[in-house]
């Protein structure tokens, strides 16, 4: 097997540096040899050599669907990559509970919601609900945490009002399904609202969802952002450590 050069990484199919990549997309052109050629040329411009349509299909209304294979010509330097991550040690639920008892010594109020137009509660429920997700219990089950899940399609104003009413220590917000990047403007609006209402400094503000990265969250004015594969203990560990660090106890 060829040795990987981490300064020049490209996709792996079955041979080192073969660049093999699969892509699917739809073009607004009628099905036929010209459509396949258009897809091939487009792949070439995207940086795929020897691109082929393994499958193409007429979707009706002048649209054609493609499954393409091609060899990626580009590489990235893996050794120079830096990704911003929440710099915190993840504690188990039990350790979180001990941490609260030892360092915070009162109950921690966390208000959460799926905000804006998003009707999907799966993310916020996975983090907050008693049952949690995949065997990771949610925040409601944590002794010392008072978790308030406001559900979906909560206006930012209502979330902030609830946080003020309950004197919340942390506000967590989930954005699952988005369209035309509305989650970005919605999250920005929430951070600004927290600022305008004068509570930004005394809360830990986090967001999460499939489109969220730590870096994006920081850019938008949040303390942390959590992507896929996040469980309640990741969020709790960050919030509790951050509270102590910022002396919000």
């Amino acid at each position: 097997m060829g040795k990987v050069d981490l300064t020049r990484v490209k996709p792996y199919g079955d041979t080192m540096n073969d660049g093999m990549t699969e892509l699917t997309f739809t073009l607004p052109v009628p099905h036929g040899p010209e459509a396949d050629e258009a897809a091939r040329q487009l792949c070439k411009k995207m940086g795929f050599d020897e691109a082929k349509a393994a499958f193409s299909k007429d979707l009706g209304q002048g649209f054609t669907f493609f499954v393409m294979y091609g060899k990626c010509v580009h590489t990235v330097d893996f050794t120079s990559i830096k990704v911003a991550k929440a710099d915190v040690e993840v504690m188990s639920r039990e350790v979180c509970q001990e941490y609260i008892a030892e360092h915070i010594k009162r109950s921690v109020v966390i208000v959460g919601a799926t905000t804006g137009t998003d009707a999907h509660t799966v993310g916020i429920d996975a983090i907050m609900n008693m049952k949690g997700f995949h065997g990771h219990y949610g925040l409601e089950r944590y002794k010392g945490i008072e978790a308030v899940n406001m559900g979906s399609q909560v206006p930012n104003e209502a979330l902030i009002a609830k946080a003020i009413e309950l004197n919340a220590d942390a506000v967590i917000v989930s954005q699952v399904v988005t369209q035309k990047d509305v989650h970005v403007s919605n999250l920005t609006n929430l951070a600004e609202l927290a600022e305008a209402e004068g509570i930004r400094d005394r809360i830990v503000l986090c967001c999460g969802g499939p489109w969220i990265s730590y870096e994006l969250a920081q850019e938008l004015g949040f303390d942390a952002g959590f992507g896929p594969h996040t469980y309640a203990e990741d969020v709790a560990s960050f919030i509790l450590t951050e509270m102590v660090k910022r002396k919000l106890v």
């Binding site: 979707l59 669907f65 509660t121 799966v122 429920d125 699952v176 988005t178």
Partner: protein
């Protein structure tokens, strides 16, 4: 012949309990009306359009009466009375009321009987229009035919009705049998129905009568081309249940989401308001030949699909009885359920199969609506496509009627054109390839499948017993459905509920329930 060997005594007992539960709520319903119910009467009597501030005229007229505290007589009374005093049509009456050139409440008043006689010809006209649409559907079905069940049901949701038309036509060509136009976010919370064609919406497209008409026309055209009647579906649960049902009846929708419990639990609509609204909306649905869909599947997105399966069945029993009370035949009852268990559960497929077959055996003539996995879709589109395949296999095996197709990109974005194609291809392949599997395979005595069905049925029966004792309102207050608690006085829209006067009349209920021709 039952494959699950369910005890008919338990099924019948549960059904009787549900009938008593619904009957109790019906007593409450019969004493009340709502602003939305009365706006529907206004619409059916011919009031349409908006005023200079874009307020729909049915709202303007009904609010005028409501603000004066006189809605307890019903909108039909005031329209009939004003017609007799002025000789104007309901539309002109509403327009002049909006302009302030007429005050319908400052006229001499007649008896309820006289007002009812005055609107009677308009009632017949509206009924005839709805009847004609129903007959048109039957004619087209006879002429074009339709897809085999389970019908392939897909969603379009661009926000722009004209863009929706493009996607809907493409989906029909790919094999879809039902096109549902998802509503724009939070339309269910609007206490009015927007007017005219719309091109701006988020996560969906406004339900308006004009949008219904545009999509109906497009589907009729593509139906001719593909040689198959294409059904149109929209959503009425929310603040305007009966109004949207009436528009759907007038524009020949074929399927309509319609569930007060869904509105209460998942949209926080006041329970009194929406249960009263639901009654008139279901009378319209029954009369127009529309299949209604209930929203039990949603319980399993917030509660656990394995542990709370019985709440779905209990709610289906109750929804069935509400439909019976509104005169809806079984064939139009699209009771909902879903394939939502955690894929990590060992034998989860067997449990899903058991529950789907159970629903079919308990509601054999209903047009069951089966909903796809959503909660455990991860963004791994390849695994998601397989989850959807298992869901499709259960559907064809258990004889579901309306199959809302799962999308491999669920939990990522609203469907792209190709996602819809892939999901239709997935379902068509499995439905065809396993068409008669349900006729061939029986289930082992005392096996996992039979035992699961028996267990869920007995749990549902126990829950119904408890609901009968506590009443439906208290049950919802305790959070028994979907793990969501709602209070009797809470939620949106309670201010729109009015206690009926002794002389109140709604001229449509009786002829619709009688199925007048």
């Amino acid at each position: 012949m039952s494959k699950l060997n369910l005890d008919p005594k338990v099924v019948n007992g549960a059904r009787s309990r549900a009938a008593r539960i619904a009957g109790k709520v019906q007593e409450f319903i019969d004493e009340h009306t709502t602003v939305s119910t009365e706006r529907t009467v206004a619409r059916l009597l011919g009031v349409d359009g908006v005023d200079s501030l874009e307020s729909p005229l049915p709202n303007v007229f009904v609010d005028r009466i409501k603000d004066a505290g006189l809605l307890d007589r019903g909108c039909a009374y005031w329209l009939g009375n004003t017609m007799l005093a002025t000789g104007l049509s309901p539309q002109r009456i509403a327009e002049e009321t909006a302009l302030g050139t007429l005050d319908p409440l400052k006229l001499p008043t007649v008896s309820a009987g006289e007002a009812e006689n005055a609107v009677a010809p308009l009632v017949l006209k509206a009924l005839a229009r709805i009847r004609a649409q129903r007959e048109e559907r039957e004619t087209l079905l006879g002429k074009l035919g339709e897809g085999k069940r389970p019908y392939l049901y897909v969603i379009v949701a661009t926000g722009n009705i004209y863009e929706d038309v493009v996607q809907a036509r493409a989906a029909a060509r790919q094999g879809a049998d039902i096109i549902a136009v998802i509503r724009t976010t939070a339309q269910s919370l609007l206490d009015y129905v927007p007017y005219g064609p719309t091109t701006e919406g988020f996560g969906g497209t406004y339900a308006t009568q004009e949008n219904f008409r545009i999509m109906r026309k497009a589907l009729d055209e593509v139906g001719e081309e593909v040689g198959r009647y294409i059904r149109l579906c929209n959503y009425s649960s929310g603040m305007c249940m009966p109004e949207i049902a009436a528009m759907g009846a007038l524009e020949r929708l074929d399927v309509l989401l319609n569930d007060a419990l869904y509105g209460i639990l998942f949209r926080d609509i006041n329970m009194q308001r929406t249960l009263v609204d639901q009654f008139f909306s279901r009378a319209i649905i029954g009369y127009s030949g529309i299949i209604f869909n209930s929203g039990e599947d949603n319980y399993l997105t917030t509660a656990d699909a394995f542990e709370e399966a019985h709440t779905v069945l209990a709610s289906q029993f109750i929804n069935e009885q509400f439909a019976v009370l509104a005169g809806i035949p079984e064939e139009q009852m699209g009771l909902g359920h879903a394939f939502e268990m955690d894929p990590e559960i060992e034998d989860g497929f067997l449990y899903e199969l058991a529950q789907a077959v159970m629903a079919k055996e308990i509601f054999p003539n209903a047009a069951l609506k089966y909903m796809p996995p959503t909660k455990f879709m991860t963004g791994n589109i390849f695994k998601g496509h397989i989850q959807d395949a298992l869901f499709n296999l259960v559907a064809v095996w258990s004889g579901q009627s309306l199959q809302l197709l799962g999308m491999l990109t669920e939990a990522i974005h609203t469907p792209h054109l190709q996602d819809r194609f892939l999901s239709i291809e997935n379902a068509s392949y499995i439905f065809n390839n396993a068409r008669h599997i349900g006729d061939e395979i029986e289930f082992k005595e005392n096996g996992i499948i039979r035992n699961r069905a028996k267990f869920v049925l007995s749990e549902a029966d126990a829950l119904l017993r408890q609901i009968e004792e506590d009443g439906l309102f208290s049950t919802i207050e305790q959070g028994k459905f979907g793990g969501v608690k709602r209070s009797r006085e809470g939620g949106k829209g309670l201010a729109g509920v009015v206690v009926k006067h002794g002389d109140y009349f709604n001229p449509f209920i009786e002829p619709m329930m009688r199925g007048v021709k």
